[in-house]
Symmetry: D2
Subunit: 436 residues, 4 copies
C-alpha cells in the first residue's frame, strides 16, 4: 500500500501560546519542527492537525525500536494494569529481577561479558557521572581523558568531558579535571592520534596527569558521526591498561543496535572496563540508564551514588520485553545490517553526486554538507516534505540519518528519497552551479 510509505505533513503552524507564555526559551527541537504532536506509532509521528511525519531522528537514537512498539506497549500496559511497582527506589522488584536476568542471559553471557549493573539516575549524563566517579574512586586519580567532539551530557561532571563549546559555556564555571585529546582521524589520516596520546602519557613532563579513565565513544553521534577504527580503539584500550586507567565506552547513542550489535564495541577486539547505556535501553523511550563495569571495579559504598528515580520499573518492563523480542536471536542484527547497507549505498550515491562525503557506521550515518547553513536548509526542506531529520557536528554540518532500526525497507527508501530530493535541491541552488 503506497500510502503507508508517504508522509503527510501539515502546512500550518499550531497555536503556541502556552509555550510562549510558560516554556523556557531553552527549548530547541520545537523550533525547527514547529508542530504539536499527539501520538506516534512505529516510524510515524502524528500532529494535532492530522499530519504525519516519518521519523529519521528516533529521539536521537532513543527510539531504535520505533514508537510504541506493540510488544513493549502491551508489556507495560499489563504491568500497570496489575499495579506493578512504578517507583521503588532501589528496592528489589520482580521487574528488576526480570530485567537483570534477561540482560544476563540474553546479552552478557552470550557475549562472554561479565559486568555488574548499576542503576543510576535514569539519564545518560547520570550514567556518565557514575562511571567517572567510579573510575576516580578505583584509581585514586582525578583526571579523565576525553576526546575532541565527544558528547557525554550536561551535568557538571559529564559536561567537563563534552567538547562542544556552547554547551561548555553554559556551565558558568570552568570545567576541570578533564583533558581532551584528539579523536581518531582528528588531525587527518597521516596522524595516528592514539600514538600522540601514548607519547603524552609516557612522557613524565607532558603536563598530562596520570588518568583515572579514558572516556570514548566508538562513533561520535553528536560530534558528527566520527567513527573510530577498531585498531585505534584497541590501541586506546591497550594504552589505558598500560597506564592504569579504566576504559569507559559511552555507548549511550551508539549502543542498543544502532551500530549493529547490542554494544557498539562488539567484535572490535577489546572489552571496556566500564560501559554507559541509556537512550534506547528502555526500548520505548522511557527514561532509563545504567552503568556496567567489571566486577573487580564494583567498589562502591552502599548509596555512595544514588538517585530518586534509579529504579524506573516501567523501564525495566519495557527493556526486558525489548531484550527478549529483539535480541534473543540474530534476526534483528541481520535486519540492521541489511538496512545499514541500504542507507550506506543511498547516502554514498547522493553524496557522490554533489562532491560531498559520507560519515558513520551501521544505522548511524550521514552526509557532511560542509556547512551548518546548508545542512539547516536541507533538514527544513525535509521537514516540509514530512521527514523529521536532524544535524550534528561541531558546526551542525552533518545531516544525520537515525532511522528506527525496525523500519520497513520500503519506508526507509521512501525517507531516503525525500532526503535525496532535498539535498539535490539545496546543492543545485547553492554549490553545484558554482562547481560547474
Amino acid at each position: 500500500m503506497m500510502t503507508s510509505t508517504t508522509p503527510r505533513p501539515t502546512t500550518t503552524m499550531p497555536d503556541t501560546g502556552i509555550y510562549d507564555r510558560r516554556e523556557s526559551v531553552v527549548r530547541s527541537y520545537a523550533r525547527s519542527m514547529p508542530r504539536q504532536f499527539t501520538k506516534a506509532q512505529d516510524v510515524w509521528m502524528h500532529d494535532n492537525q492530522g499530519g504525519r511525519y516519518l521519523d529519521f531522528l528516533s529521539g536521537c537514537s532513543t527510539l531504535n525500536y520505533g514508537h510504541n512498539h506493540p510488544v513493549l506497549k502491551q508489556a507495560l500496559m499489563d504491568y500497570i494494569a496489575t499495579d506493578g511497582i512504578a517507583h521503588g527506589l532501589d528496592l528489589h522488584t520482580d521487574a528488576k529481577a526480570e530485567f537483570l536476568g534477561a540482560l544476563e542471559s540474553i546479552i552478557l553471557e552470550p557475549r562472554g561479558l561479565d559486568y555488574r549493573v548499576m542503576f543510576t539516575g535514569p539519564t545518560g549524563t547520570n550514567a556518565v557521572e557514575a562511571a567517572i566517579k567510579l573510575a576516580r574512586k578505583v584509581t585514586g586519580r582525578e583526571m579523565v581523558i576525553a576526546f575532541t567532539n565527544g558528547f557525554h551530557g550536561m551535568t557538571l561532571g559529564s559536561l567537563a568531558c563534552t567538547g562542544n563549546a556552547a554547551k561548555r559555556g553554559g556551565a558558568g564555571v570552568p570545567l576541570s579535571h578533564v583533558a581532551h585529546l584528539p579523536y581518531d582521524g582528528y588531525h587527518g589520516a597521516d596522524v595516528d592520534t592514539a600514538e600522540l596520546l601514548a607519547q603524552r602519557l609516557e612522557d613524565p613532563s607532558s603536563g598530562l596527569d596520570a588518568p583515572a579513565a579514558i572516556l570514548v565513544e566508538t562513533v561520535q553521534g553528536e560530534g558528527g558521526l566520527n567513527v573510530a577504527s577498531a585498531a585505534w580503539l584497541r590501541r586506546i584500550a591497550a594504552i589505558a591498561k598500560e597506564h592504569g586507567a579504566l576504559l569507559i565506552v559511552d555507548d549511550i547513542q551508539a549502543g542498543c543496535g544502532r551500530t549493529g550489535g547490542f554494544f557498539s564495541f562488539e567484535g572490535l577486539g577489546f572489552t571496556p572496563d566500564i560501559v554507559t547505556m541509556a537512550k534506547s535501553l528502555s526500548g520505548m523511550g522511557l527514561p532509563f540508564a545504567l552503568t556496567l563495569f567489571r566486577p573487580e571495579f564494583d567498589q562502591w559504598s552502599p548509596g555512595e551514588h544514588n538517585g530518586t528515580f534509579r529504579g524506573n520499573n516501567h523501564a525495566f518492563v519495557t527493556a526486558t520485553a525489548a531484550l527478549r523480542h529483539f535480541w534473543a536471536d540474530d534476526a534483528f542484527t541481520r535486519d540492521i545490517a541489511r538496512r545499514a547497507e541500504i542507507v550506506a549505498q543511498r547516502l554514498e550515491t547522493i553524496a557522490a553526486r554533489h562532491g560531498l562525503s559520507t560519515k558513520g557506521r551501521g544505522m548511524m550515518r550521514g552526509i557532511d554538507m560542509g556547512s551548518g547553513d546548508l545542512a539547516a536548509m536541507v533538514i527544513a526542506s525535509c521537514f516540509d516534505r514530512g521527514l523529521i531529520i536532524e544535524t550534528s557536528g561541531g558546526h551542525d554540518e552533518i545531516i544525520k540519518v537515525l532511522a528506527p532500526l525496525v523500519i520497513d525497507d520500503a519506508v526507509l527508501s521512501a525517507g531516503l528519497d525525500i532526503l535525496e530530493r532535498s539535498i539535490d535541491e539545496i546543492a543545485h541552488a547553492n554549490f553545484d552551479i558554482a562547481a560547474e
Copy 2:
C-alpha cells in the same frame, strides 16, 4: 475492616542470586528491606511471598499520592493505549501542552506566581544543575552558597552543593565553586545564622566571594528534617536580593504537598527566583523534574542545557492528572493539614515519653533518636512488623515519617502504632533504664 490497616510482613528472605551476581554493591535500601516487591497500591507494597507492607517512606516523598493512584493510572493507561507520544525530546506534544496549561491555571495563577518552566533531564539533580547553571549565567558569578546538611543531588554540580561527606567523597575530585554556610538553627537558638551570612557578604575581606545564588531547602529532608523559619527564609531572600544573588529553593522533597501547599514556601512571605521540582511531581513515581524561574531570568540559548529524556510525556500525563485531581481546590490541603496534626501529636507523645525531640513540618516529620545505631534498630523493628520507614540526618539518627499524603487516617494511626511500639521497645532496652 481491621485487615485493611494491618501489615502482613513476610519472614523469610527471597532468593537474591540475580542481585548478588549482577547488581552493583552500591544498592542501599534493598539491604535494610530485603524483600522482592511485586506490586503496590495506595499505601501498600506487596512482596513475592504474599507479604504486604505499609509504606511510610513513599519513595522518599516521591509517592505523595500513594502507589498507582487509580486516577493517574487510568490516565496513563488511556494515553498509552492510544499511542500517545512516549518520548519526544523537547518537541511540543499534547501531553506537554496539557501539563503546562494545568500548571499555569491550577498552580501558578492562583498563587500569583509568574514562572517559566524548564523541562530538564527527569531527575532532581538535573533540575538543580540547571538552576545553578542559570544563576551563574545570569549573574556572571561562579560561587553558590548552600547550607549545612543540604542535599541537592549526586552529579558533580549538585554534589558540590550537598553537605553529606560520604556522598561528597564519592566525587573523587574536589568539589568547588560552592560555600556552605550554617542553616537556620545550626549553631543553636542563640545564633542567627542569617545574620552570620549577611555579615560575611557585607565584609569585602571575609573570603566569601559574591554569590551567583543562594540555594536552600525550606525543610531539609535528607539533612535531618531541619526546618527553616519563615523569618529566616525571608531574611535569606532579602540578603540574596541585596547582594545580587538569585534565590533558589530546592523543593524537590518538600514540595508537592509534603509540607502542606504545592510549594513548601507558600505563605512564608517570599518568592524564590528559581524553584526546582522533582520526586512527586509526576504523581505516580515516574521520572520527572523541572526548574521554574522568573521570566526575566529565562536567558538560556536554545539547547544550552538539554537532555534526551527532558520531555517524559508519560510523566506529563500523570502529573497533569495529579494537578487536576488533587490541587484544583483546597480539599487536599486541608486533608494534609489534618493528617500532619495527627503525626505531630503522636510523635510528640512518643518522643516526650523517652526524652527525645521531634523535628519537621507538615507531613515531613520525625523523631531524633540521638544516634544512628538506635535509629537503625527502630526501623529494623518496624520493618519486621511490616512498616517501611527510613532515617535521615548527618548521622542517620532521625526516624523520618514520610507517609503518603493520601493515607487514610486510620491506617496512618495504625502505622504510627507500629512506630510507637518499636521506639518504646528500643528505648526501653537501651536508654530508658539508664535514665531511671
Copy 3:
C-alpha cells in the same frame, strides 16, 4: 638634640616621568607617598629633595630593626667584599650553615622547638604555598581552612587562602580548595567561632570537607590588626589535632619580634605544626622566606618544591647577624614590651578622646577610624607632617602603627604626637562635632 626626632617633609612633587612611562599602574604605595626616596637609616627615610620622613610603616613589618642597621649592613658588606656566595641555588654554603646554626642555637633550642627549615623562594607567598602543599601531601587531603580577613599572599595557592575580595578578584579564576571560617571575635563577643568550626568538623553533613590544614595568623596584619586570644588559638590547635589537620601559623607579619617574641605564638600554650616566616627575617629588608615544620612532616621528595632564589645568601648573612645581635638575650624583647606599652597607652588615649577603639598586640597596633575615607585623610595628614604610616582592614579603616622595633622612645613619642595631631584634626572636622 631636638632635630633628631623631627621629620622634615618635602612639599613639592618630584618628577615622575619615568614611572608614568614605564611602571605599571599596579603600583600602590607610591601613590599615597609621592616622593622619590634615596636613602634610609634607622627609622628615617630621605627623599631626593632633602626631605626626611619618620617610618611608621617599616615595609609592612619587614624592617623591624630599622633601615640599614649598622651591624647587619657591616656583615653584608664584609661578605660581599670577600666574594661570599651571592647565589647558590640550594647548595650548602658557609652562609647557610651559619644561619641554620644561629637559628638552632638562638631561637629553636631555647624555646624547645624542633623544626626543620625549608628555604622556599624568598617571598612570603612562596613560604605559604610550600606550607599548604606540604600539609596536603602529608594528610592526603585537599581542603585548607583559612579565616575571614586572613592575608597570605598573591600567588594562586596563597591567594585562595586570602580573604580580601579585591585581591581575590585579581585571580581571574575561581579560587578553590579553601574554606574561610570566621576568625576569633568575627561574629561578636558572644559567638565563639572556634566552637562554630568544631561543630562543622564534627558534623559529617556540614559540607566542610576534612581539612589538610588550618591556616591562621595570631594577629591579622592586613586584615585589620585583629587579635586572636590565646584560648581561641589553643582551641583551634586542639581542633586541628583532633581532626587530623596540620596547624599552620602564618607568622610572616606578626613574627620576628613584632608582637614581642621571635614567634608570635610564644607563650600562648600551643605549638604549630608548620610556621611560615618572611618579611623581617633577613633583618635588612632583603628577600627571604622560610617554612618551618615538625621533623615528622618533612616528607618532601628532593626538589619537589624548589625555586631559583631559594638560597638568598645575602639574606642568610644579615639574618644571622640579626639573630645574634637582637635575640641572643632578652634585652630586645624587654625593649619591645616597653615600646609596645607606650604605643598602647598613647593610642588608647587618642582613641578614647574621639570615641574610637584600638586594636592589635605588641608593636602591631592601631586605631579603628570606622571608615576608610577618614583613615585615608589621617594618613595623608601624617605624610604631610613627615610621618609614613598606612592603613589596613577590610575597608582600609584601621590606622596601623608599625614603627620599627628599635625606635628610640623619644622618636616613637614624636611620631605618635604627629599621629595624634592628625587624628584630632580629622576627628574634629568630621565627627566630633556631630557627636557634640
Copy 4:
C-alpha cells in the same frame, strides 16, 4: 697560566650535621654536589676545604655574568655604604628610577619595544603568576595554554602551567584552568604542532576552551633544551592574536643573553604581549623578577597584585650596572655568539663520536644521553673532576651546558674538555661497546 683554567676539586665530604638536623629533605642540588661553598668569583666556586670548581650551571642561568662580577659588586657595595634604600615596598626610589631609565634607553627603545614594567615579587614564579592573572583579567577568560615540557614555577598558578609530573604531584590538589599542548617538534618532524593547536582552536567542539593566553618558552630549559623554531613561534603568535589570546613569553631562563640577545625572541619576527624575566636579571644572583607587557594591557587596579619584596632595591642597583656594562653596545652579544659557536661545535663532535644528539640554542646547549642514569653518571664524573654541571629534560637525560656568558674562551674549552672526557668514559663503559 695553566692554573687559571684548571679546577681543583676536593675529595672529602664536609661535615653536614647542621643540614641533617635542620634543613628539609627537599634540598636537591646539595645532594649531587656535596660540598660546602664559601666564596665565588667569575666562573669559579670555592669550597671550605680549599677546592675550586668550574661552574657550568650558573645558578640555572641566574649567573650569566659570573659570580660577583666586579662592576656589579662595586655598585652594590657603594649603594649599601651610602645607606641606599634596601627595601621600599613599591615606593619610588633612585635605584628604581635608574633601573627603569636604563631598561628604557638600553633595552626597550633600541629594540623598538614599548613595554610597561611590573615589579612582581622577586621570583620567577611570581612573575608568571602576575602574567597569567593579567591575561585572564584582560581577556575575561580563564584557560591558559601551556606546552609539553614547559617549566614555569612552583606556586599553584605557575605550577598548573608546568609539565613536570613530579612537580605537579607536589601540588596536592588538581591543577586546573590550563591545557597543555605539544611543543614544537614534540610529535616528531612530520607533525606541525602549531597546526594541531590551530585546528583545536578553530573547532568549536574540540573541548579546548577559548584561551586567555598562550604561555611559551622559546627554548625549554628545564624541559630538556627543546628549541622552538622562529616559524613555529610566529605561527603561535599569529594563532594567539587570531583567537584573542595574549602571547606570553616566559624568558626567565632563556633571556638575559643566554640565547644571544637580551630577549630570546629578538630577531625571530614576533613580539610577545607579555614577557616574564627573572634569574639573571639582577646580574649578581639577587632575587629579582619582572613582568613586561604592552601598555594597552596595563589594566591592573592599584595593588591588585602586590608583594612585600616587589622592590628589591639591591637588585635594581646591580641590574642597572649590568645593563650599562653589558648591553650598551653589541660587544657582549658578539662574545656570546662566538662562545656559543665553540660550545656547539665541541658538543657536536662529542655527541657524534657516540651516536648521541645535541640540543639547544646560543649558550644553552646540551647533549641527549638517552637516559637519566647515564646522564647522572656523566655529571658525577664531571663533578669529581671539578666541573659543576647539571641535567634537565623529562627523564633528566640531557647534559645541560649553562656556562657563564662571560667565560674566557680558554676556560670554556677546559671545561668542555672535562665534559668530553667524562662522556667518553661513560659512553665507552656503557654503550659504545654494545654498538661495536
